[in-house]
Symmetry: C2
Subunit: 431 residues, 2 copies
């Protein structure tokens, strides 16, 4: 490795320098504050866990995305998280069994938590839990050629409520997040797992063939589907519904069309469409100007979704900015299944789109002189929230070199802040 | 893995649940704001890099602490950072050669940066750069039995200035950090690499023997040292100085004693003692009440320090809360050596000591009724920075279940906020 490329970063690995880093930090604070106003409580799951815990309830995609490490203390396999959602599901399943954890102890106190029998569980099972997070995740492979492998995943999860109300809340928070990130006009993309899977089940095909059929839908391979259906799906009405389903994407009127096309479909399919209609109503009640796009054979990232799936796209560019959905079974593997819905986004990605103005404060240059009254002035100003950059003995820097717009100068025994454009600023007491 | 232990975390791997997570987030913001007031600019280096970049200038300790990963795109070895300081050194060496990066582009634009010849470099070489960071690091092994392996490393680095002034500034920021974290009375521990190494060089011993001697000092093995010195160090005065150096630790008067004991030592040793005296004066000028402890054979973590080394301890407990020092050569491997000094701390550790009060805002319970005027009220209140937690259709939660201290009730066609203790709150307009 030569000196020249020692600072090169691996592909898809990004770092933020000033002022972009400050911009990201501002965005991060703004968005965590937003979640807090919706009643979501912050959790900070660890970067690494045993692989089994990280991959619970999720499909092969997540495993392929996860960097593996060996725990030198136990020899067991650990992973660097590629997704935070399963960690938060573990916390919901675990915390409410150990309410003490909510009082701030860490998951390290295992013994106690294991025994812990909790009388309130039955009641608490019914109480929705709202949790939010913002943390680094790593992807072993970039999702696509241009994608990053170092993301700042941020999102919310809402546990304990079945039914569209909670999906509506999550989508509303997702839209508020996009607004807070100032990333312009967006489009909500809605789908429902039950629609496609409801029909797949009807086919009575083997798991292998069903998977094949599923992949045709994922690839939107219309002709491939025709051939497959012609060959394997004998029931004519079902065959017909499958062939039309692959085309069912577009704006609001698609739902009407779907109810026509799929009227003979099993109840679960029609119930899925019905849920989508209710969700649109609920979201529009809070975000009147929300725009929707429907993709009725949309399935789910990381295979853990079980109901409605949604995402937001930047209008025009079609770039996906956030995604989420309902995943009601993930808690089971932790011994406690609660209905769950949530969404997540990558703040690094958002911070690039976002045109956030930095409310950056002026920097005041302090000369390098050994004068106690200067130190008092500097300390006083910092207490007042002013930014002071000190010149250091021997460096011949000018205020501009240190990005300072003002400087401290002594005038009649008093240190005062003076603008570089030489308009005088407020004098401050040096005692 | 049974259901019962699926949520167990590996030893030394921690996660924060409410309210501790919120406490950490508050502390993180408070401390990054502090660095900003001192003129330090935030950088966000990546969690993973090629191993060669991560380990530059550092010794074997860091390599042993670093989790290794294989980059599936290139087959090259990467590491999960165990320390952020070398990354920030890379950024200083790299950015100022590519000022465009400072305008916010990422290190991904390599080609451009490689060619880039910059006329301002000569001047910029002399301009100190102040950088700060807060990010996760992983340790493959815990530093000690109780230590965490998942740290939130936070700190500052000051590049481009030789001489005690910059060390003084860094120590002052370190003390302000401890104050901001409200972790009580602390003690500054000072040492200087040149003192021990100056004497080691004088011995003229082989590298192996010198290392052996060095380790005796690290272990504070007084009798072992006696034997070694008697056997290998013929120069009586030098032997005498080495035997006394191992005892030279304690409060201020130690420096006086050292000047006596080491008066025959090479200039670099005496210059080291002199620097320590200057640093004490400089720090006391800003923190009058600062207390110091000196350990003159103190050496350096991760082997990259080259001058003064310092740390803060919690008074009484003796627990180390932060550490740093001068490391003037680390930039070389990136093609640009600049004098450098800095410190870092683990915010997770601090947040446990810190007794930060949560300035948490009231939560207001919103009933689950389909009333447009309620949605307007909720949106209005959130815009005003009030926290609203909505009941969801079908959940039979009471305000207290959702940690709400107030609730929204409708009175004469108006939604008003009412305290649960039934004292009426401010009415808010629903239009």
């Amino acid at each position: 490795m030569t000196i020249a490329d020692r600072w090169l970063l691996p592909d898809g690995v990004e770092e933020l320098l000033p002022p972009r880093a400050e911009k990201l930090e501002n965005l991060r604070r703004r968005i965590l504050d937003l979640y807090s106003l919706w009643g979501y409580k912050l959790v900070i799951p660890p970067l690494i866990e045993y692989l089994e815990s990280l991959l619970v309830g999720s499909g092969q995609d997540l495993e392929l995305q996860t960097f593996k490490l060996t725990d030198q203390l136990t020899g067991r396999l650990m992973g660097v998280r590629a997704d935070i959602t399963p960690q938060v599901a573990r916390i919901d399943a675990h915390c409410l069994k150990n309410p003490i954890s909510l009082k701030g102890s860490t998951s390290l106190d295992k013994s106690s938590s294991l025994k812990n029998k909790n009388p309130f569980i039955d009641h608490q099972e019914k109480i929705p839990a709202r949790l939010c997070y913002a943390g680094s995740v790593l992807h072993a492979k970039p999702a696509d050629l241009l994608a990053s492998r170092t993301l700042l995943q941020t999102g919310i999860e809402l546990y304990g409520h079945r039914g569209v109300d909670s999906d509506v809340e999550v989508i509303n928070v997702m839209l508020d997040t996009m607004a807070a990130a100032e990333c312009g006009k967006v489009l909500v993309n809605l789908g429902h797992v039950d629609i496609l899977s409801g029909l797949l089940n009807e086919t009575g095909l083997s798991e292998t063939l069903r998977q094949e059929l599923f992949e045709l839908f994922q690839r939107k391979d219309v002709t491939g589907l025709e051939t497959f259906v012609g060959q394997y799906v004998l029931d004519e009405s079902l065959a017909n519904m499958l062939s039309q389903l692959i085309q069912l994407s577009g704006e609001a009127q698609i739902l009407e069309k779907a109810k026509q096309v799929l009227r003979a479909a099993p109840a679960s399919v029609l119930a899925g469409i019905d849920e989508l209609e209710k969700i649109v109503v609920g979201v529009k009640a809070y975000h009147q100007d929300a725009d929707f796009y429907f993709d009725l054979c949309e399935m789910h990232s990381y295979n853990y979704h079980t109901g409605v799936v949604f995402s937001v796209f930047k209008a025009g560019s079609g770039e996906e900015l956030a995604q989420g959905g309902r995943y009601d079974h993930i808690g089971e593997v932790f011994g406690r299944a609660r209905p769950a819905t949530g969404f997540s986004t990558d703040l690094l990605k958002l911070s690039k789109l976002a045109d956030l103005s930095l409310d950056s404060i002026d920097a005041i240059f302090a000369p390098s002189v050994n004068d106690p009254s200067l130190r008092v002035a500097v300390r006083t100003l910092r207490k007042q929230g002013r930014r002071i950059v000190s010149s250091l003995a021997g460096d011949d820097t000018k205020p501009a070199d240190l990005d300072c717009s003002h400087q401290l100068v002594k005038k009649n025994e008093k240190w005062i802040v003076v603008g570089l454009i030489l308009n005088e600023g407020d004098s401050i007491e040096s005692d």
